[in-house]
Symmetry: D2
Subunit: 345 residues, 4 copies
C-alpha cells in the first residue's frame, strides 16, 4: 500500500511530540518534516532522547518545507499562531488538521469573546470540519481543514452526546466536573506547572471562564433542539496525562442503567475508540491510547444521571484524534496506527 | 494551667497517628495512653519512626488502661468496633470523642441501611453531639459522647451550610463532586491503595452508595426547612492528604459574589478554622492544618453557585477536628494546639 | 510468515500483564493461552480493563492447557513456584522462558543460601541460558530453558560489562547504587507498596541481602579473570516503572570519555536495544520500551568511572527482554514487536 | 522571656517561606520584616495562602528596613546576590545568617572556580562560622556572620564525620550517592522542574561539577588528617522535600555495627536533631522537621561501610538549621521552635 507523507508544524510541544510518537509508528505514514523555529537544525532525538534509535529527523524551519512533498499537514501550534499560519499559506492545498482552538468555534464573535483576540480569517470560522469522528465522520472525510477538538470537549461531549441528541435530559441542568493532567497546560515552564505547585496537590482553575466551555456548549447545542446551559469546571490533577469528566444531568424521567447502555451502544455502534465500561474508569486504563472509556449510571435516589468519560488528553484529546481524522481523510483504516494497549501500570 | 490526660484507643491507624502528632504537641495535654491490640508492648517510635525523640510511649492493650487516669478518651477505631467498645465500657464516664461513623447518623435504621449492620446501642444513635464545631459548639461543650464528623461531610457541609440555612438554594439541586487523598481509605494495604493503582491515576468510586452521602444529607436536612436531595460523588486523588469538594447549587435568584462572601462571613464569624479565600483553593494550602478554606462564586451565565471546601482529611476531617472538639469540651482555647502552618511546598 | 503460539503461565502479575501487552501487539505471535489459578474463567479484559477491545481471552487454569498447541511458553510465576512447575511438566518440550529467579544462579548452593530454599531441580541450576541477549545470544538461540535475568541485574550488568570484560577496573571496587520503581515489588498489596508509604517518599531496602546481589556478582565474575566484589544497594522510588543504576568503579589508569564510548560502542555493536547517550538518562526516556540507555564518564578529580543504566524494569527488566529472547529462540527479527517509542511525558 | 526581632531578606523563595513557617511559630521570635523586591506591598498571605490567618505581614523592600529594629537577620537570597548585600550594608551589625553558598567555602579561589564568579568580599571568605551546629557550636555562638550549610553538605557530612574524624576510613574511597526532592532547585519555573519532567521520573544531574562537592570535601578535610577524595553524585527525586544520601566508605579494618553506633552516639551526644536509627530511614520520617536520621552498617562480604543521612532539605538542609543557628547565637534553647513532628503520611 502506498504511503502518505505527513508534516508537523510545531513538533516540539507536547502535542507535537505525541504526533511524532504516533506517526513514526504508523504503518502507512512517512514523516516528511518536523518543524520548530527555535530548535531548527537540531536532531529531534537529541532534543527528545526517548526517540533515539527510532526517529532520525532533524528539526527544520517551516520556511524550508516543500508543500508539494506533503500529503497531510498537522498544525501543532498555539492558539492564535495557527490561524495566522493558515492565512499566510493560502496556496498550501493539502488537507490540514489544526490542533489549536482557532477553527473550532461556530462564529468569529464567540472566538473574539473567549479567546480575547479578533480572528484573522473570520470567513473560515465555522467552516472547518469539527474533528470528532464519532459525530462528524462524513464531513471529516471530505474536509480541507479539520479543527481537531479540544481535550476537554472530547471528554465532555462523548459521554453526553447520546442523551442530548435523544432529548432525554433537561438542557439547563448539565454539570461537567472535569479533571485533567498537567500536560494539558503545555510544555512551557510556568508557575502553575512547577512540580511543587502540582505534586501532592489539587485545585480547580478557570472557573466560569475556560475557553472549552463555549466549545462544549456549541457542539452540544448542535445536537439539541433547545439551547443548552453547561456548567464546566476544570481541575488540575497531579498526573501527566488524562482527563476524567464526571457529568451530571437530569433526565425527564427515570431510566435504567440497561437502557442507558443500549442507547450508547447504538449511538456509538462501530466506533473503534469508544469503550462502554461497567465500572467507573480510571485514567491509567486509557493512558497512551486513543480510547474514550464511558461509564453510565442513573441514581434512583436523586434522579440524576452520572456519565463519565476517560481519555488520554494527549492522544484521544489531541494527537491520536488527529491521526484518526487523518486516517478518515486519507481513506485509511480508522484505527491504523492507533491500536495501542494503554500503559498500565 | 493544669493539664488533662488523654488516651487514644487505636493509635496505629492513620487517624490515631495524627492524634498522637497533634496531642503530643498540645500545650495542655498529657498523652496518658496509646493502645493497640496487635502491637501492644512495642515502642510507638519503633513502629512509627517519625516520632523518635518526641514520643516515648509504649503501646498497650486497652485492657490495661485505668479509666480513672483518663480525662478525655479518643476512639480511633473502625466503624462497628467503636460502638462495641462504648457498649462494653458503660462505667467509663470521661467524655468520649468517637472518630468512627457509629454515632453520626440520626437513627438506627439509617445506620443499618448504610453500614450493613444492626447498631448495638440503638438508643444512643442520634444522641451524641455531632462534632462539627462551626454548627454545634454549645452541644459539644456539654456532651458525654461526641461523634466526630466524617471527612467528606466536613468538607461538604461547611461550604454549603450557609446557603441551606438561609434557604437560598433549590434543595433538590445540589451536586457535591468530591476528591480525596488516599489516606481516607485507611492504612491497611489493599489493592485500591497499592501505589501503582493510584499513582499517575484518578477515578471515581462509591458512586451512589458512599456512606457519607447519608451523613451529609441528614446534617443539611437539619438546617433546611425542606428535604434535601444531595448527589455526592467521591473520587480518589494520587495524593496522601486532602479533600476538595466542588459543590454546585442553584439559587432561587441571582446573587453577587460579594453577597455570598458577606453571608459566609456572618455565618462563620469568630470561627478560627474557616478561611474564606478569594481564589480557588489548593489542597497544599491546608495540608497538615485544621483549616477549611472556602471559595464561593456565582456564575451569571448558568445561574449556578459553585462553592468549594478544601481540608486536610486527617486533620480538619478527623484528628484536628477531634482536638478542636476536645478543646471545647474541656474549656480550653478552641485553637489550642492547632495553630499550625500548612506544609507548602 | 507463519505465526507462533505463545502461552503465559501466570498472566495476572505485573510481568504477566506486560507480556500480554507486548505479545498481543507482536506481528508474529498468537496468544494461545493466559493462565491464572485464582481468576480462571474470567475475561482478561474484565480483570484488566486497559485490554478491553484488544484482548478477548478468558483466563484459564494451566491444567487445561494443551502443550501440543504451544510453541513457546512463558513462566511468569513467583520464585520457587516456577521451578516446581518445570519439575512437574517434564514432558513439555517447547522452549521455556522463565521470568523468575529460579534458574539464574550458577549452582544450587548459592540458590539455597540467597533464596532460603532448597532447589527442587538442582541438576538444572546453572544449565539454563542466562537470557541477557547482549552477552549470550548464541546460547539463547538454542536453549530449551532460558532464565530471564532479574531487573536489577539487567540494569547493572549492561553498564559494567565492557569494563569488566576488558579488565579495566579494580574488581574489588564496584558500587552499584540502584533505584527502582514500585512495580518491581509485584502487584500484591503489601505495606511496602501502600501509596502513602511510597508517595513523596524514598528509602533504601534490602541492604547487603538483596538476591540480585549474587546474580550480578556471578554474571560479572564470568566476564572477569578475577573474583569481583560488588556492593549493590537498591532504593525504592515513588514511580511505577524504571530502574536507574549509578555504578562507581575505579580504572587501573585514567581514561577519557571518548575512549569509554568507543569501548562500549564496540562491545554492543549491532545490539538493537542498547543506546549510548551523551547526557545522564532519565527513566521516562525508556518508559514502556525495551531500551537500556547507558551513560559513561570518567571523573579526573577522583579517578572514578561513573556508568549508568536506565531501563523500564517491566520491559527490558522482564517482559520485553523475554520477548527479545523469544525472538532469538524462534529465529525472528530480534526487535520484532519491540519497536516501541517510550512514553514521555 | 524577652523576644528577639528577626528579619528575612528574600522571603518569597522556598527557603524564605520555610523561615516564615518556622519563625512565625517560634515562641521567642517576633517577625520584624519580610522583604521582596518584586512583591513589595503585597500581603504575604495573599501571595502564599497557606499563611492566611497566621501571618499578617506585608512584604516590603529591603530599602525600607530599619536595622536598629532587627536583632537577627536572615539572608535567603540567591548565590552571588547575598555577598553583594553583605558588602553594601557594612553598617548593619546585627548577627547575620546567610543561607546562600557565598560564605561557605574556605577561600576565594575555590569560590571563583566552583561558582564561576569572583567573590566581592574575598577577605571574609573562610571567616564566617560554618553553621553546622553538630560540629561548630562554639564558633556559631559568637559569630557575626554564619554561613548556613548547603542541603547536600548537611546530609553528607553528618553521616560521615565520625568516621573521618576518627581516621577509620580510606580517605580516597568515599562515594556519596545523593537523592534530593525538587525544592532544592528553587521556586523559579524552569524546564527541569516542570511537573512532567519530574513526575514518574528520575535522573542524575550535575555529575562531577555540583558546587556542593567542594563544600563537602573542604568540611571533611577539616576533620581529616589526610586529604579526602569525595565522589558526590546528586539525583532528582519526584518528591517535594527531602535528601537521602547513601555513603560508601572502606574502613581500614572490619568493624561491627554495634561499634559503629557507639562511635556515632558518642560523637553526637546531646545533639537534639541527630537520630541514630536502626533501619534504613525514609524521607517522610523527617519531612517538615529539623531531624537528620542516620543509619549505619558494615557489610562483611564487601568490607564497605554504608552510612545514610535523611533530612528535609528545606528544614535541616536550610531554614531549620538556620533557626538552630539563631537559637545558639541568641542564647536560646537549641531546639526552641523546632520541636516538630515529621508529617507522615
Amino acid at each position: 500500500m502506498s504511503n502518505f507523507r505527513a508534516a508537523i508544524i510545531g513538533a516540539t510541544g507536547f502535542t507535537g511530540i505525541e504526533l511524532v510518537r504516533l506517526l513514526s509508528q504508523h504503518p502507512q505514514i512517512e514523516l516528511a518534516a518536523l518543524t520548530s523555529e527555535s530548535k531548527a537544525g537540531q536532531d529531534y532525538a537529541d532534543v527528545f532522547p526517548q526517540f533515539r534509535g527510532l526517529v532520525s529527523h532533524q528539526l527544520q524551519s517551516y520556511h524550508d518545507l516543500h508543500p508539494e512533498d506533503i500529503d497531510i499537514l498537522f498544525l501543532a501550534l498555539p492558539h492564535r499562531v495557527s490561524m495566522s499560519f493558515v492565512k499566510e499559506h493560502p496556496q498550501w492545498t493539502m488537507p490540514i488538521i489544526d490542533l489549536s482552538g482557532d477553527f473550532r468555534l461556530d462564529d468569529p464573535l464567540s472566538y473574539e469573546k473567549w479567546y480575547d483576540k479578533k480572528h484573522v480569517l473570520p470567513d473560515r470560522v465555522g467552516q472547518a470540519a469539527y474533528g470528532l469522528p464519532e459525530l462528524h465522520e462524513e464531513k471529516i472525510r471530505k474536509a480541507d481543514l479539520i479543527a481537531n477538538p479540544g481535550c476537554f470537549p472530547t471528554a465532555s461531549i462523548l459521554p453526553l452526546a447520546p442523551l442530548v441528541a435523544e432529548g432525554l435530559i433537561d438542557p439547563e441542568y448539565v454539570i461537567i466536573d472535569a479533571k485533567t493532567g498537567v500536560t494539558g497546560a503545555g510544555a512551557k515552564s510556568k508557575p502553575v506547572n512547577h512540580f511543587s505547585s502540582v505534586n501532592d496537590n489539587f485545585k480547580a482553575y478557570g472557573l466560569k471562564t475556560h475557553r472549552h466551555s463555549i466549545e462544549i456548549q456549541q457542539q452540544l447545542d448542535h445536537l439539541s433542539s433547545k439551547g443548552m446551559r453547561i456548567q464546566f469546571t476544570p481541575h488540575l490533577l497531579p498526573i501527566d496525562r488524562g482527563i476524567l469528566t464526571t457529568c451530571y444531568s437530569r433526565p425527564h424521567q427515570a431510566i435504567t442503567d440497561t437502557e442507558l447502555y443500549e442507547l450508547y451502544q447504538n449511538f456509538y455502534r462501530d466506533q473503534p475508540f469508544i469503550r462502554l465500561v461497567s465500572t467507573a474508569p480510571s485514567l491509567k486504563q486509557v493512558r497512551g491510547s486513543n480510547f474514550c472509556d464511558i461509564y453510565l449510571t442513573f441514581d434512583e435516589r436523586t434522579g440524576n444521571i452520572i456519565s463519565m468519560g476517560a481519555i488520554d488528553n494527549l492522544v484521544k484529546g489531541a494527537a491520536g484524534q488527529a491521526v484518526h481524522n487523518m486516517n478518515l481523510r486519507l481513506g485509511l483504516a480508522p484505527d491504523a496506527g492507533l491500536s495501542i494497549v494503554p500503559l498500565q501500570p
